[in-house]
Amino acid sequence: MAQSAIELKGIDKSFGAVRANRDIDLEIAPGTIHGIIGENGAGKSTLMSILYGFYQADRGEIFVNGRKIAIDSPNDAIAAGIGMVHQHFMLVHNFTVLENIILGAEGASLLNTGIARARSELQRLEQEYSLEVDPDAIIEQLPVGLQQRVEILKALYRGAEILILDEPTGVLTPAEADHLFRILRKLKDEGKTIVLITHKLREIMAVTDNVSVMRQGAMVATRKTAATTVEELAELMVGRRVLLRVEKGEARPGEVKLSVKNLSVRDSRGVLMVDDVSFDVRGGEIVGIAGVAGNGQSELIEAIAGTRRAETGTVLLDGAPIDVVGAADPGELRTRGLAHVPEDRHHVGLVLPFEENENSILGYHGMDFYLNGPFLNIEAIRSDARDKIEKYDIRPADCRLKTANFSGGNQQKIVLAREMEKDPGVLVVGQPTRGVDVGAIEFIHKQLIAMRDQGKAVLLISVELDEIRSLSDRILVMFDGRIVGERGPDATEGELGLLMAGVEAQEAAE
């Protein structure tokens, strides 16, 4: 049998009381693409961080090409031929591609010699792996897919034989993701070993040779990809059978609850992010807005929910205007029945150092129910929080616990419970299941469908195309600040993908 490119034996890592990795064994064959899947918090990233030297394992051994090595820092990992492409790119935005690639490997105190050598080396790499990038382009002017390519080149430039990619497709369109997979296969053909971390089952099936499944810090199974199915992997990930499809009945759209007309929004840099957008959301329907992150969806829902000023346009809530251009007040909008689950629950939807019960009133803290004159009614707040904890199965069931100590899925349930329990007419939801484990995703989706079935209007944005497709009754596709098409829930992924990439934008706009 060929020697393993990477072999991990008995890796154990605890953070305080939490065992993020328990006694993990893993073998990765050279020249293969090996997938590692698991829910958020299953310990995938921790394991890879150990391999790349960010963390040190409490116990266990690491062998690279059959040789036992100690990896105490990323430098050790690079020396051992391991490269990593992070989920969030580690690039200097106002540097050129070339400058980014030699960053940390400049070679000499004068830059030109290093740059000249890097340029020729880069040309060789580009040709060998067909990874074309203009070496003199400025990073921030490149699309995300190309930035990722620069990250891959960076690792290769440092002599990586083993490449770890952490959730590489989160920021890509379906087409860009396909392109990435072609690059990965090419790298594999050239003899590189690739470790792909993801929670998307489809990617595993599409590109890997072998797949290992992690659950709650343990490695629960390794399979040949060809010999397994999506259903089996999902079950292994969660530990029980999962409904991958959302079950829902026909939508019964009623009155228009939310009406957006000619809305334009600029971001803080003054760039026009939402460009003359109009649409309606009726009671009893879920309208999903699909799009690659950064095409204006975030600014759109922020403007509707009153947390960002719009430049022009009108928004009607139950027929009455919201002053989106002037002084829309999220607090007042809540009393008018517009609830908002923000995209960024860590910094916007929750105050992480607060106790759970304090977060369960955020935005609703001015309601008489929670107050005694100017004082907070602590008893009412806590008993209300306990009710929500029970109803939404928030764990641990302790309303005095600091919110930071809840898992991502439970934090999201805290937000949803707060926004849904006040019986809003319109619910604006951003990325409802980002960083949420599969079990909680199922629950959250059911809640959103239940809201729809009660006749509420739900506006959903998500970068997970599957989520948009399975929840929405109508899908609007946003590209470059404009709505470039509307499709029904049965639209194919390819069709939506093309719209999201701006192809056919002209025809679709007609």
Partner: protein, 380 residues
């Protein structure tokens, strides 16, 4: 992540860690004392004896502590809103103007307790206005509050010199101070409080404003943790984005918080002006505004921590004077060094020993340390 450290039990968080910091500060201070050729143990003895060994010692310690409680609370309230109010010094200084104007106007007319109430209102109002202007500039114009409050300290100092050599100075007097207030505008002394500890005392600067300071500590606690306004202040302090999302008006909260902070700093003036010196003098604040920053840091912005921290600094002030009196090699400046070390270890290096303490706790009882599992799991 906003919770970079594991959770410790409250007693360790608020008791053990400050205590360790304090011990290290005193050890280093001891080395300094050793360097100048005096005995650190003897110096420590003098410090304690000077601060707590006599009735008048206790009186002075608590008198200084009174000022520090006010300024410490002022800094803490602003901290909770994410604002760093460096201007306590200036706010207290102009607060003195509020006290003096009330006392000079009404000291022959009204009973002391009515003068007291009016003086509280006066110094709180002027201190509040003095802090509101930088707050307004921060909220509306984005001028950084640290810079503007420092500048307002200088403006306050110049303004007070102008008034004390001009309008407020009695004609013919050579000293830059107001006339002495009549006895109706003197605060009662708290001799009885010291006598409760079994000491006899003839004269002490400790006065009724000490009680007021303790009351304000409770008021601040209730404000921050039990009112809607406090909830909004804390939300704003932890996450301005979450505050905007919750419909909290940023500008309004910043201005109100600074007003409260400035009012508390302004009330510090009651203690020296109405309680002890009975006139408004040049530079009566003598750094209490800045000590308030250290007190708030050391007290973790919680009134229950601020009161003991203020007493500790009062002890350093009073006991330090005793040391420099007995030990000729140790000058007043040495005391400043010791205070600086306490500030350094208790304030600036607050987190230095925390990881070690947490590791110790984690190894002793893993269950006691609830670590954010999810954040660690997907952290990298």
């Amino acid at each position: 992540m906003s919770a970079p450290y594991a959770k410790l039990p409250a007693w360790a968080d608020f008791g053990l860690i400050p205590l360790i910091n304090l011990i290290v500060a005193f050890l280093v201070a001891g080395l300094v004392v050793l360097l100048v050729g005096e005995s650190p143990i003897e110096a420590a003895g003098l410090l304690l004896k000077g601060a707590f060994g006599s009735g008048s010692g206790i009186g002075y310690t608590l008198y200084y502590a009174t000022s520090f409680i006010f300024t410490g609370l002022a800094v803490a309230v602003a901290f909770h809103c994410g604002l760093f109010n460096i201007g306590g010094e200036g706010q207290a200084y102009v607060g003195g103007l509020g006290v003096a104007l009330v006392c000079l106007t009404f000291d022959g007319l009204l009973p002391w307790w009515l003068n007291f109430l009016l003086a509280i209102a006066g110094c709180a109002a002027i201190g509040a206005i003095w802090a509101m202007i930088p707050g307004w500039l921060q909220a509306k114009r984005g001028s950084h509050i640290v810079i503007t409050t420092i500048m307002f300290n200088f403006i306050a100092a110049s303004l007070m010199v102008y008034l004390l050599v001009g309008a407020l100075k009695p004609p013919g007097s050579m000293a830059p101070q107001t006339r002495t207030f009549l006895p109706d505008a003197h605060l009662p002394k708290l001799n009885w409080l010291i006598e409760m500890f079994g000491f006899s005392v003839r004269s002490t600067p400790l006065n009724l404003s000490f009680i007021l300071a303790l009351v304000m500590a409770v008021v601040v606690w209730a404000l921050i943790w039990r009112t809607k306004l406090g909830y909004e202040i804390r939300t704003m302090g932890f996450s301005p984005k979450a505050a905007r999302y919750a419909g909290i008006k940023e500008a309004r909260i910043i201005v109100i918080t600074m007003a409260i902070s400035g009012a508390l700093a302004g009330m510090m003036a009651l203690n020296p002006v109405m309680g002890d010196q009975h006139r408004l003098q040049l530079d009566f604040v003598t750094g209490a505004g800045f000590v308030g920053i250290a007190v708030a840091l050391m007290g973790r912005s919680h009134p229950a921590g601020i009161v003991p921290a203020a007493i500790l600094f009062g002890m350093l002030y009073q006991g330090g004077a005793e040391i420099s009196f007995v030990m000729p090699h140790i000058s007043r400046d040495m005391i400043v060094i010791i205070q600086g070390l306490v500030i350094l270890f208790a304030g600036a290096l607050e987190h230095m020993f925390r990881p070690a303490v947490q590791a110790a706790f984690a190894s002793l009882s893993p269950r006691a340390v609830g670590i954010d599992a999810e954040a660690k799991g997907e952290g990298a």
